[in-house]
């Protein structure tokens, strides 16, 4: 179970990333954030965001139309 949850379903670029960044600030270092999104672009974007900011993308999965990401707050 992640420390925080973000429902970004129905939102389009760049909102899932902007909201992820905001929410990640509320997650203690070492903690995790789970993000749900329907924007197919968020698959590549979430990976880029994590690589650039030094956070760890622990999971990136798809269930139907919903993409699920688990990010560990490192950076």
């Amino acid at each position: 179970m992640a420390d925080k949850m973000l429902d970004a379903k129905g939102l389009n670029c760049p909102l899932p990333i902007l909201k992820t960044k905001k929410m990640l600030n509320e997650v203690p270092r070492g903690g995790t954030l789970e993000v749900l999104a329907t924007d197919p672009g968020s698959v590549a974007d979430m990976a880029s965001f994590c690589r650039t900011t030094g956070n760890e993308l622990v999971e990136s999965t798809k269930d139907g139309d919903v993409f699920r990401f688990v990010i560990k707050h490192v950076g």
């Binding site: 389009n12 760049p14 909102l15 902007l18 960044k21 965001f49 950076g75």
Partner: protein, 167 residues
């Protein structure tokens, strides 16, 4: 979001914003907010038709004129907007409200929202002094946050930036 790690490897970006139509307002604000979210120190320089994007009250429009690439989705098809269409009275308002509806329906942020998020994320905004003078705008007309500056202010930022964009 106002952290900025202050490290020597802090990346920076500048964007020159020159266009103020609803469609062209998106790229600079999307990139600025995203860059800031990715820890990039970002500066936007608003000049010429980009300057009104700093006005307190925005009423952005699109134009069908001179944009053969504009194809509006309509009943499962795409409707092109050839130049002659722009002669129809009220067509720009119609195209604008179509676009605004699409923006809402597709979960795309409004320019007002993105601008607010950019300010929250400490994106620096510079209002071009010369354009203010030319088009007779006052700082009181503008949102709180931007500073006044000119080409030299921009250049100082651009010279030390990793990414410089002209939009």
């Amino acid at each position: 979001m106002a952290e900025g790690n202050g490290a020597a490897n802090q990346k920076t970006m500048t964007i020159i914003v020159t266009k103020g139509t609803l469609d062209w307002a998106y790229p600079p604000f999307i990139l600025a907010t995203t860059a800031a979210a990715m820890g990039v120190d970002t500066t936007m320089f608003f000049t010429f038709y980009g300057l009104p994007l700093l006005l307190k009250k925005l009423n952005l429009k699109i134009s069908t004129l001179g944009n053969p690439a504009m194809k509006m989705p309509m009943m499962g098809m795409h409707m092109a907007m050839p130049n002659w269409v722009s002669a129809i009275p009220g067509i720009d308002s119609m195209a604008t409200s179509m676009m605004k509806n699409m923006i809402k329906k597709k979960g795309v942020a409004s320019i007002e929202e993105l601008r607010e998020m950019a300010l929250e994320a400490d994106v620096k905004m510079i209002a071009c002094q010369m354009t203010m003078d030319l088009f007779e705008y006052k700082m009181e007309d503008m949102i709180k946050g931007p500073i006044l500056g000119g080409a030299a202010t921009y250049m100082e930022n651009a010279l030390k930036s990793n990414v410089n964009l002209y939009i």
